[in-house]
Symmetry: C2
Subunit: 356 residues, 2 copies
């Protein structure tokens, strides 16, 4: 009940103003203003009537009008030191922020926890309350069809970062994920590995499939057969990586190298290997994806794949902005390139292994 979206009729019609509330409550707009600003000198009965009208119309004060006429801005700034190392979302944030600054736009944030039963309500509230022109949807949010439908209905353009699915008229960025996965797998093969484990990511992310395909292609290119017991499901979390690694290392003939679909799962793999007293890369080589801070801070540091996330986020956001300004924009033609960062978690497979 409380979470339901406003009546459909209003999503097309203009939002109610203070006049509508005043009319419905039978008072002047100034009295409505007093009520919504919690000023004194309003009779309790009047206040109540106004509040009912506000409720009935689902009225929200127009922030711009408030700012323009009043003395307050209703804005808080958060100034912070940009840590020199970033998580994935920090990078996206930075890229989007840059593009917004360059384009004269303001960036507003809606952090969500998934799974979320009220997802659509939350997004709806955010979009209408904050009066947005456009929305950026990093993976996996760009693949929630309910969100896409909502934004389409409200006629709000959106840009997606590494989505899984296509959408017509697509404002989205991709990177050469599959190629990078191919490269990193091939790198392991060149080091002499033949038994290569793979830990998949959360299937909701497009990257999961791309990375898996790169792995398969590299095996094929080297004439190595694909063994299903070497492929395990993961969810991009440390724990899921640990669990998958446990299964792989429990095999009678365990892999000598493991490709984890992100750094957290690679860290989980190393964690699991360490618990078993395995040496890395002596007994097991491990690679990850994303080059997040953890990759360079664990021992041994991870060989991983770096994506230009900041640049990708910046590019797609500025494209979105150009489109909002009325420019006719072409979709990004080229995926961004990724590259392998070689560190100490990978090594040459000892010759003795060939006997096995």
């Amino acid at each position: 009940m409380k979470n339901s979206v406003p009546p459909k009729a209003q999503s097309k019609l203009k939002a109610p103003t203070i006049f509508d509330v005043a009319k419905l409550a039978g008072v002047s707009i100034k009295t409505v203003s007093r009520v919504i600003n919690l000023e004194s000198n309003v009779r309790a009965s009047t206040r109540e009537r106004v509040e009912e009208a506000v409720e009935a119309l689902d009225y929200r004060p127009n922030a711009a009008a408030r700012v323009l006429s009043g003395k307050r801005f209703y804005v808080i700034g958060l100034i912070y030191e940009n840590p020199n190392e970033f998580s994935y979302m920090q990078k996206v944030l930075n890229g989007a922020l840059k593009a917004c600054e360059a384009g004269g736009y303001t960036l507003l944030l809606l952090p969500l926890t998934l799974p979320n039963p009220d997802l659509i309500d939350d997004v709806q509230r955010f979009v209408s309350q904050s009066r947005l022109d456009g929305v950026v949807l990093p993976a996996p949010l760009g693949d929630f069809s309910e969100i896409q439908r909502l934004l389409n209905e409200l006629n709000i353009p959106y840009a997606r970062i590494t989505p899984k699915t296509e959408a017509g008229d697509d404002l989205s960025v991709q990177c050469h994920d599959e190629q990078a996965s191919f490269d990193v797998t091939q790198f392991l093969i060149e080091q002499g590995h033949r038994r290569l484990g793979f830990i998949k990511g959360d299937p909701i992310h497009g990257a999961t499939e791309h990375r898996y395909r790169g792995y398969i292609r590299a095996l094929q290119a080297a004439g190595i057969g694909l063994h299903s017991e070497f492929v395990r499901d993961g969810m991009f979390s440390f724990e899921s990586g640990k669990t998958a690694a446990r299964a792989l290392l429990d095999l009678r003939e365990p892999p000598t190298a493991i490709v984890a679909s992100n750094d957290d799962m690679a860290a989980g793999t190393i964690f699991e290997a360490r618990e078993r007293g395995l040496s890395i890369p002596g007994d097991l080589s491990v690679v990850g994806f994303d080059d997040t801070p953890i990759a360079s801070h664990i021992w041994p540091p991870l060989t991983t794949v770096r994506q230009p996330i900041v640049e990708m986020a910046e590019a797609i956001t500025s494209l979105l902005i150009r489109r909002l300004k009325g420019e006719q924009v072409e979709p990004l033609d080229q995926p961004f390139a990724c590259h392998v960062v070689t560190r100490a978690s990978t090594g040459i497979r000892a010759a003795e292994d060939d006997l096995a």
Copy 2:
């Protein structure tokens, strides 16, 4: 030159409007509007004249007026999945965001890289361009006196998260950092350790001194002498932790336990120890601070100190907002409590050690 702040006179007077620009350029306001919105049908010479006037007055369009009169909002939303594990800044962001949502305010971000020669210009531009009511300054930004001076001049209230210095009328949050440091050091002592190394943090952070004092107090309480060679400077970075650990482990009689002032430096310490083939916690116990993701993802997982950062950020932001709304607010009376999270990077000091 280009970076200099607008003429002093204007910081008190009202900001120039489109009228001022029009008058100076000798055109109508509509023409100014055309120029700043890059519309067509403006003679090059006119455009130039207007641009000069804009420059001369340092004119910035009033965002609220634009929004109110036009059809655009100049706002982009970024909707993202809140990763289940956060960096320090992510936590601050989440707390501040919560408080803003609850208070009907909007949160705007200014990420900064330090050191920054244009610091004040950047902050000035942010504050005036975004028309903020208040500012949140997480450590170490709350200790930059230039920023404080600027905000005071502009009469913009600010709240600080774990600042080092006091400011009258203080809107700031602290946590029981010293106590936590005492606790974690005492914990190591109880495990039998007597030779305890300490790696300090960046001196610009208040936490650095608090944590160091807790360490000293715990040594005193146990009757253990403070040896200066056991105390090393660090900068809160992984690298600095590694360097400091190297120095400590190079000692003729190295410590059997190391207290690093944050997790990154603790990770650096473990990294260094691993490079030397030391076993943890067998040969060396290590503790960190902050309980960042890395603490639980490295092997062995780190014993560390967790601060309620989200709650702290939320509390101080909502206090700031209440103050902006005109309430008479009291400073937060109690620092927030921290607690030790015990993991596998610490262990009982073997008895043989007593011989040494």
